[in-house]
């Protein structure tokens, strides 16, 4: 996977991970992939809901030592 940009939103509480992700998505082009790192547990459900609302696609997600990684492709 070709990652265009990485956003480190670790330590931030809702709604900041989503707000920062939205802003980062605005800065990349359609088809490009944003990597987001979050520790907010609410993000698991929030990112799924957000991708449905925004139309962007979560290509992959994983959890490693308490950090959630999302790979989101811009619509």
């Amino acid at each position: 996977m070709n990652i265009t940009k990485t956003l480190d939103a670790k330590g931030f509480a809702c709604p900041m991970p989503i707000v920062r992700t939205k802003k980062a998505m605005d800065s990349i082009e359609s088809g490009e992939v944003l990597e987001v790192l979050v520790t907010d547990k609410g993000a698991l459900n929030d990112f799924t809901a957000w991708s449905a609302a925004s139309g962007h696609t979560i290509l992959e997600q994983k959890e490693e030592v308490g950090v959630l990684y999302f790979y989101i492709q811009k619509a």
């Binding site: 330590g11 809702c14 709604p15 900041m16 707000v19 939205k22 802003k23 957000w50 609302a53």
Partner: protein, 131 residues
Amino acid sequence: MSNKVAIIASNGGLFDAYKVFNIATAAAASEKEVAIFFTFEGLNLIHKQGMQALEMPVGKEHFAEGFAKAQVPPIPQLVEMAQELGVKFIACQMTMDVMGLTTADFVEGIEVGGAVTFLEYAKDASPTLTF
């Protein structure tokens, strides 16, 4: 499906501010059109000085530590972010008149309107939320 979210902010404490601006910024970041109608004590949330010193509910002051630990942004920062994301602020004219306030007392970029302004906006919004 509606892409509009309508919010009424009618209380003026710190917790109220977070309830309002968290939902508003989350909605705006999810590509929704968002407007907040600030009425009565809710006007405090966008008052230039008032928003700098919003109070915690009595007996809940110990949550200050939790706010800092969770890296929750201060309210003025959330207000700025909401506006940056395109959230529309409508201040209630009637309450402003009662309280002797003018647009100069509030953050830049607000609109002033009456109940009908909000109702017209909210008629096809889903959800409409009241705080």
